[in-house]
């Protein structure tokens, strides 16, 4: 994953006085699933438009699959597939007609069109409704048909804008498997714009977080978590007779632990009550940083507490996102805010 299939340098686009994309510089590598995260108006859709040559930039440059999106727009778009945020289907036509027309537009070889359309209708579970007008389709069916249309010409690179919006959990899971399969098994690059942070965490090799047209973070989800979310939840399993002592000890170590430890796994009471009730001997606590973990362990062992297990929980992308969003809202660097 070293070849950059997308490379932008200070890419900028304005609409009137508003900067929709502010000096975006990034590289996306061949075969990776790259998440592009941000709220509405963060610049995600503008970026997809710029990278596919349907919108011109006001400054900076971009290369996609080695091509200039504006100068080589048609050649580039023949190699990319874009799923737009709205399914953008002709509701007055049947599902099959929607695919047949776009097969011609994307130059699918004529002798392959019928078979390819049938194959995709099957793959997305739309064979039975292929001849119905799209107006009669549910939101999920439309989204699946739009995904099928995106794959018609077997593009090398996919731009997916909210691909699972409107899908039920099962269909969303199938879409995730499909996207992951395209990247892992077929080597396609996926540029995934999403609000869905669970989806991004599950699928993406790397993510960029956008705020008001500016990229505020870039990296693998776990890397970003380490970088931007300093506090860490940790489960500590101790000998049953040491639960109360461990909780008291950790509660006093305010440099290492934020707040008072709680008894994990179903207990709502204090450590003493939990122990008395024969419930959990695992404490849940939040440490002030990754470096606090060995210190907390040392503190417990020095006081004779027998530690059976210590499990840190990596922060989710959601926590990273909200930390970055909060920092951007306050106008302060994210790391300071989270430290």
């Amino acid at each position: 994953m070293t070849t950059a299939v997308i490379a932008t340098d200070q890419l900028t686009r304005r609409f009137g006085d508003k900067i929709a994309l502010d000096a975006l510089t990034l590289e996306v590598h061949a075969g990776e699933v790259f998440g592009f995260l941000g709220h509405n108006g963060a610049g995600k859709t503008t970026t997809v438009r710029l990278l596919n040559g349907v919108l011109e930039s006001h400054a900076g440059s971009a290369r996609v699959l080695g091509l200039d999106p504006i100068r080589d727009g048609p050649a580039l778009r023949a190699r990319t597939g874009v799923l737009t945020e709205s399914a953008s289907l002709d509701a007055r036509l049947s599902g099959r007609d929607n695919l047949l027309i776009y097969a011609d537009l994307f130059g699918v070889p004529k002798d392959r069109v019928a078979a390819r359309v049938t194959e995709l209708l099957d793959l997305f579970g739309l064979s039975d409704s292929a001849n119905l007008k799209v107006a009669a389709y549910s939101t999920g069916m439309r989204q699946r048909l739009a995904l099928a249309r995106t794959l018609l010409h077997e593009p090398e690179m996919l731009f997916l804008d909210e691909p699972t919006a409107g899908l039920d959990p099962l269909a969303a899971r199938q879409a995730h498997e499909l996207i992951a399969g395209l990247a892992r098994q077929k080597g396609r690059t996926v540029f995934l714009c999403t609000h869905n942070l669970v989806e991004a965490q599950r699928l993406c090799d790397r993510v960029a977080v956008m705020e008001h047209g500016r990229m505020v973070a870039l990296g693998a989800p776990a890397e970003l978590a380490r970088q931007y979310v300093r506090r860490l939840d940790v489960d500590v399993e101790v000998a049953p007779e040491h639960v109360e002592a461990a909780a008291d000890l950790l509660a006093r170590a305010s440099a290492l632990v934020a707040g008072r430890p709680r008894v994990a796994a179903g207990s709502t009471g204090s450590p003493a009550n939990a122990l008395a009730n024969g419930m959990s001997n695992t404490l849940s606590l939040t440490v002030t940083g990754r470096e606090a973990i060995p210190d907390a362990l040392a503190l417990l062992t020095q006081h004779g507490i027998r530690v059976y297990r210590l499990t840190p929980h990596e922060p989710s992308l959601e926590e990273v996102y909200f930390a970055l969003h909060a920092a951007a809202t306050d106008g302060r660097p994210a790391q300071e805010d989270c430290a």
Binding site: G53, P74, V82, T84, S88, D90, A91, Y102, L105
Partner: protein, 277 residues
């Protein structure tokens, strides 16, 4: 030019527009009324105007004779060999309805272009089209071609209907088949496609700014104004449609079309279109 892609868009637009009753109904009803019913009314004119109490077209035979007397010399010369009854029929069916015929390609092309350009944006189907490998020029040609082809087909169908109806209704009075005249053949072959282009090109310019199909259609209705001028020009005797006038009219329309389409091609750019979605 990628003609496969162009015809795919044409096919798509035609299929989509055929599902839109708001577009199809006026295209069917207008020619049926004008070219299916009017020939019969005009054919009955001679008998109706002879009855004092019955008036046709708001005038009696004397008024009609007076009107024809005010017509340009060339028209009067063309009508001279005919009886007053036949003159009345010729005046209505051949001359007055000639500019009215142009309403067909004009209306059909403008309503279909409104659906193809503004309607596509309204239905939010334009964006996917912009992400295809087509060039701006191919998209523009495709978007022009579908309403234009449909409008010319509608004009030809309306003309065929009119030929049948005019001869069926007025043939007995005229002493046999009398329609189409050479002027009408030129009108249909030379001017009607140009009129379709005029409605279309105007609508392209309007659609870029319109919010949706209805908005574009209402704004674009101004295309009928020049047509009304032609109708009033004929009634008032300022001009009449002979072969020469029709050839010139066609030429003027083609030149205007070329200018409007050139202007339209300047603003039909992906970046501009997508920024308005």
């Amino acid at each position: 030019m990628n003609w496969r892609a162009i015809f795919a868009i044409v096919r798509k637009d035609l299929k989509v527009v055929l599902q839109n009753k708001g577009v199809i109904l006026p295209i069917i009803i207008v020619p049926l009324v004008i070219f299916g019913v009017l020939p019969w009314i005009a054919a009955l004119a001679p008998t109706m105007v002879n009855a004092d109490s019955v008036r046709m077209g708001g005038m009696n035979l004397d008024e009609l004779t007076e009107l024809i007397a005010r017509m340009p010399e060339g028209l009067r010369a063309e009508m001279a060999p005919y009886t007053p009854d036949q003159q009345a029929i010729l005046f209505f069916l051949v001359y007055l309805l000639a500019p009215m015929f142009l309403i067909l390609p004009l209306m059909a092309s403008s309503v279909m272009a409104a659906d193809s350009f503004a309607g596509e944006r309204e239905r939010r189907t334009l964006e996917a089209l912009l992400y295809t490998p087509t060039t701006d020029r191919e998209l523009f040609v495709a978007k022009l071609l579908s309403p234009w082809l449909a409008a010319v087909a509608v004009a030809l169908a309306g003309f065929a209907l009119y030929v049948v109806m005019a001869n069926a209704a007025a043939g007995p009075v005229m002493g046999g088949l009398f329609f189409p005249t050479p002027m009408w053949v030129v009108l249909v072959i030379w001017v009607a496609p140009a009129a379709a282009g005029f409605g279309l090109a105007t609508m392209v310019l309007v659609s870029v700014r319109a919010q949706g199909f209805q908005d574009a259609y209402q704004l674009g209705s101004v295309v009928v104004l020049p047509l009304l001028l032609l109708v009033f020009g004929q009634i008032s005797g300022v001009m009449y449609f002979d072969i020469g006038a029709v050839l010139v009219l066609g030429l003027v329309l083609w030149v205007i079309d070329a200018a409007l389409i050139w202007a339209g091609s300047r603003i039909f750019r992906r970046g501009r279109l997508i920024a308005r979605l």
